[in-house]
């Protein structure tokens, strides 16, 4: 079996052109170096050096082999260097999965904030429903997931990032609900618009509003908050909207955001990672970055807008 030791000795020999001196440069005895070179020649089935009274000369094969060996040794050098380069906090690649009802509202704030704090960071983002993200996290395809808690799998570690209160989004001209704040379970669930299956917000909306609607105005679930709110503004019904989405989505025409009464229903958004990942510091830094990039949450009352 060819070894790096043999290559290092051979390189020394080719440079020194002399067994004794080569042995000195690699700090071994001449017989030790001789033995390794001989074993190498034996293993490769070729004479690599011509032995002369004064110094050695590489054979044609030896010259070819030397070229390749120099490349390999340089690559090994770089490997060791790469491995030793201390990665600071969040230096290098971090693959983050974020659920679709958070991603579009958090990412534009979070990513520049992270880049500012950790210039060396490389971020890879994936947007998918919780189950998909957690599966990828467990497989090692992701390093962290931002999703609504609770997350059950217990080889995972979790940290609460923030509470995200729910509001009701309805058309401006909506007459069914005149007074605010709303009381839960007091809503016309037949007019409730939902995301498609798999989105945790769908289940949370159903939980907040009491039960599954018998028949929805729109049977096909929407694929994003944006679509949902588009539908709302076109008088197709109403929907639950998390606080994080409000600031962005309120810009739509014909949209009215109504808070719930106390205690306000909310979802808990958390950071999730593999317990075995040993990137505790990175995860703490990431969590801090998420909480740090969000402006202080507005009061519920302030969101009652025309």
């Amino acid at each position: 079996m060819l070894t790096l030791r043999q290559m290092r000795y051979f390189e020394a020999l080719a440079s020194a052109r002399h067994f004794g001196r080569a042995a000195q440069t690699v700090n071994v005895s001449q017989p030790a170096l001789s033995a390794q070179i001989m074993e190498m020649e034996e293993h490769l089935g070729t004479r690599l050096v011509e032995r002369n009274r004064s110094g050695i000369i590489l054979t044609a094969k030896g010259t070819q082999v030397l070229q390749r060996i120099r490349i390999i040794l340089a690559d090994v050098e770089r490997l060791e260097q790469t491995a030793r380069d201390a990665e600071g906090i969040l230096a290098g690649l971090t693959r983050i999965g974020i659920i679709p009802t958070v991603a579009p509202y958090l990412v534009p704030q979070l990513v520049p904030h992270l880049r500012g704090l950790y210039p060396q960071i490389e971020i890879e983002l994936k947007e998918a429903v919780t189950d998909r993200l957690i599966a990828d996290l467990a497989d090692g395809k992701l390093d962290a997931v931002i999703a609504a808690l609770p997350i059950e799998a217990d080889q995972l570690e979790t940290r609460l990032l923030f509470s995200d209160r729910f509001f009701m989004a309805m058309a401006q001209n909506e007459t069914d609900i005149l007074s605010s704040p709303l009381m839960e379970n007091q809503l016309d669930t037949e007019r409730l618009l939902l995301l498609e299956e798999g989105h945790c917000l769908r289940d949370q909306a159903l939980a907040v509003c009491g039960s599954a609607p018998k028949r929805n105005l729109v049977n096909v679930g929407a694929t994003s908050m944006a679509t949902l709110l588009q539908m709302v503004s076109h008088d197709m019904g109403m929907t639950l909207i998390p606080e994080i989405a409000v600031e962005t989505e309120i810009a739509r025409n014909n949209l009215r955001i109504v808070p719930f009464g106390n205690p306000a229903p909310a979802r808990e958004i958390g950071l999730v990672w593999r317990r075995s990942s040993s990137r505790v510091e990175d995860m703490a830094a990431l969590a801090d970055a998420v909480t740090g990039c969000r402006r202080p949450a507005g009061k519920g009352a302030e969101l009652e807008m025309a």
Copy 2:
């Protein structure tokens, strides 16, 4: 110290994603593989894999390291392959030195002939005086030398290629010598034109013609046979010409080639190589190619031309 063994084990581990199975693929026990991976991590100062209950996941560092390792292992593979590729006779690079009084007349025949016989051959030619060529040969900068014998250095092996008879080249209108064949030591050495110092033919010419001329018509030695014959054809004197040059040089105007009487003086052209080179077969093939590429030598008498 990082080893190829560690890299091979790590590659297996990354592929199998499981210590036990990885150990099987490289035919060692699980603890043996574990130990090597741990040592590697220790040496590199980084955690490379996350250990889980079911299988392992590479860390970011581990992924980087794996990429480099795969390159290195592939290069080692190719190195072993390269080394094992049997080079046939005269396949690969052969560096040949030839003296200037032979090169221009032999090379145009020899090189195409060699290419025909050994399509894989790579030839590097150097033209210089014997001493320079022999020094380069000893240093391993050349693999073979074609020069006039004898060559003294005794770490060298020699094989006679052919005998190269001498003729006298003079102007057509030269009146001093009326009869042919010439007798040695019967020449007007004062009119003898010589190559510059260092050329063996210079010394051979002096040996043939008896002694060093007291004063030459041309004090500065010529740098090539071609120059010398140019001078001869311009009535500046006469010179010794080896048979190998005759066919090419006779085309000149006003040139008369006169043979010597028996025994005709001649030089012995031989092939020289390092005894330690272990390329005996290549040298034999090269020597055969040289003798094989030369047309049967013409009779001396046939060269007495107008």
